[in-house]
């Protein structure tokens, strides 16, 4: 036998070895930007960790990483023979390109973007984890397709807001998940309502979360209110889960679903 083999990629094989030490991968996506994916994914990672699980948080938003800031971690990274070490914060192992580039822009596109996504997934040495929560960027590009392609039995959470624009984008992502065989855990509606002294109002508009859930045979797992404590916590460098009881309650319900269905 003598050949130039097709489909033989050391990074893909390395990723397979890493995934063998991770109990479950949970993809948190939306399709839409600015709906709170990083808030939900980092809060879920913290809630699972608080419950005693070994948890990693991987930020795959290459162009606008936010998870590192929310988790209060910064570079530089450390490497060793096993790969690149994630940075621990509040019990959660965090990896994000923000740790490698700081505030610099990352104008990668095309093949480079796919290879960078794969490298970030394959070269991070998570060790043994119960859960790896993956914060996906908006859209359905390489950063979404690489984990969908290479992580068998991943489960997904879709984050939306009360808006027909968000509904359309989330629906596209859910169609993709469904067609690629990704199990949809449920839908989280962020910025869902405001509690004005007992009166619940929805300033962003009508909710489409239940309609989406029904269409894709899943459930709305939580509705997170607009809570000024969330924004204040971010500005103060404190994770919002530690400051907003409403967020903690909502994410607690999501974590319960994750734990219950494993």
């Amino acid at each position: 036998m003598d050949s130039a083999p097709e489909g033989l990629d050391p990074l893909v094989s390395l990723l397979g070895e890493r995934l063998g030490r991770i109990g479950e991968v949970i993809l948190v996506g939306s399709g839409k930007g600015g709906v709170g994916k990083s808030l939900v994914s980092s809060s879920l990672a913290l809630a699972l960790s608080d419950g005693g699980s070994r948890v990693g948080l991987l930020d795959l938003d290459l162009h606008g990483p936010a998870a590192a800031r929310l988790m209060g971690v910064s570079g530089p990274l450390e490497s060793w023979r096993g790969g690149v070490r994630p940075v621990e914060s509040m019990g959660v192992e965090v990896m994000s390109l923000a740790l490698a580039v700081g505030d610099l822009p990352v104008p990668v596109s095309g093949e480079g973007k796919g290879r960078l996504t794969l490298a970030l997934m394959a070269l991070t040495d998570w060790g043994d984890l119960d859960y790896l929560v993956v914060d996906l960027p908006p859209g359905t590009g390489d950063e979404v397709m690489i984990p969908v392609r290479h992580v068998e039995s991943a489960r997904a959470l879709a984050v939306t807001t009360p808006s027909s624009l968000a509904r359309d984008a989330v629906r596209r992502l859910l169609v993709l998940f469904r067609d690629q065989g990704v199990d949809i855990l449920g839908i989280v509606e962020n910025q869902a309502y405001v509690d004005c002294g007992g009166e619940v109002v929805s300033p962003l508009g009508r909710s489409f979360a239940e309609e989406l859930a029904a269409e894709f045979g899943t459930r709305v797992l939580a509705r997170i209110p607009l809570d000024p404590a969330i924004g204040r916590a971010v500005d103060e460098g404190i994770h919002p889960l530690r400051r907003s009881g409403a967020l903690a309650d909502a994410v607690g319900a999501v974590a319960g679903e994750v734990l219950g269905r494993r």
């Binding site: 130039a4 390395l14 530089p76 490497s79 822009p105 990668v108 095309g110």
Partner: protein, 148 residues
Amino acid sequence: MHEWSLAQGLVASLHSFAEREGLRRITLVEVSVGELMELDVPVFRDAFETLTRGGPADSAELRIVEEPARFRCRRCGAEWTFAEVEEQIHRGVPEDLMVREPGGELESPLHIFPDLVPAFVRCPRCGGRDFEVLAGRDMRVSRLEGER
């Protein structure tokens, strides 16, 4: 230092390939390595030799072929080589972003993530960051020889 994890991925892919193709032994592995990776070849060879022991690629010849890196600016059309931006690659990374190795040495994040190059390197002609890596970015298995 992450050469060990790259070798781990390579060896895992060889094992899968040997099993899939029914190979008893792999005798030659030729790997094309992008110049941008700045692979530490002795460390990679050492890792490969250690990690292949006892498996189908045990004692296989490892041939490493470096692929020169080439770049093309999408804004002004300039093309350049690794040597023309080597100074940027080695000195353009702020010290607080240099990756720490166990012995305290520092290495560029580009050594681990070569595709991050537009974050740290700019076109030598126009200074833009919108450029293509035409060649020499990553590692590929370019040739295998074995016995059934």
